[in-house]
């Protein structure tokens, strides 16, 4: 399956791109996707405790399984307003 991945704020700076598309085994949890990026960008892994994830524009637990066509985002602490 293929999922779309979005990075915002400082995560975008670390990964060097705002958007990516990744091939993963169907049902992989969001955590597995993050681990994959953490391996290629060790600085990203440091932020794991201060991030939340979303699946299809809704906050999602790290254990949430992913399916083809899903849109996942990794969200640093928000600072709007």
């Amino acid at each position: 399956m293929r999922v779309k991945v979005l990075f915002f704020g400082r995560l975008k700076d670390i990964v060097g791109q705002a958007e990516d598309s990744v091939e993963l085994p169907d049902g992989s949890p969001i955590e597995a996707l993050f681990v994959q990026y953490g391996t290629s960008h060790p600085e990203l892994a440091r932020f794991r405790a201060s991030l939340v994830a979303s699946r299809n524009q809704v906050f999602a637990a790290w254990t949430t399984p992913l399916h083809n066509g899903d849109e996942v985002a990794f969200l640093p602490p928000v600072s709007g307003g």
Partner: protein
């Protein structure tokens, strides 16, 4: 009573926010109060002089989260209409980054709903600001939105 059926207004904008438009949007004959919150760009942060801010958003999700806030305040408070606009992109000192207007027949509900709306927006809406100083730029310290419990993991895709 002609405005009773008018809808709430939720906006993410790149141009300056027109306060008057939002206030007029929520003002209706049956309301005795319009309470507004004007969030503006401050010229200092943690003791440093701020030059300007740059806001970015996960726009589709941010609008969804703002809609969720509006739903919540309608459930919690006897208010009439809500207008919320958040600006994105580069903002200069003194400009409005977020503006909230709430109307209600009686003022306590509008005050409380307006405060709830801005407090919740700052915790749950995926918008980020980068602060530019004379000697560099940093992403502002933010608040971590509450994450769903891990126990709901096995839920199938919807």
């Amino acid at each position: 009573m002609t405005k009773t059926l008018q809808a709430d207004l939720l906006l993410l904008v790149r141009d300056p926010i027109d306060h008057a438009v939002l206030i007029e949007h929520v003002r209706a004959a049956e309301d005795g109060a319009v309470v507004t919150f004007d969030g503006c760009v401050r010229n200092h942060s943690h003791g440093r002089r701020t030059l300007y801010l740059d806001y970015e958003a996960y726009e589709t999700m941010a609008l969804g989260q703002i809609r969720e806030i509006v739903t919540q305040i309608h459930e919690k408070y006897p208010i009439h209409l809500v207008a919320i606009a958040h600006r994105l992109g580069r903002l200069e000192i003194g400009e409005t980054s977020v503006f909230i207007a709430v109307s209600s027949p009686h003022r306590p509900a509008a005050f409380e709903a307006c405060q709830f709306a801005i407090d919740t927006l700052k915790r749950t809406v995926p918008i980020w600001k980068k602060e530019y100083f004379e000697d560099g730029a940093v992403w502002a310290d933010g608040e971590l939105p509450p994450a769903p419990a891990e126990t709901r993991a096995a839920k199938p895709a919807s």
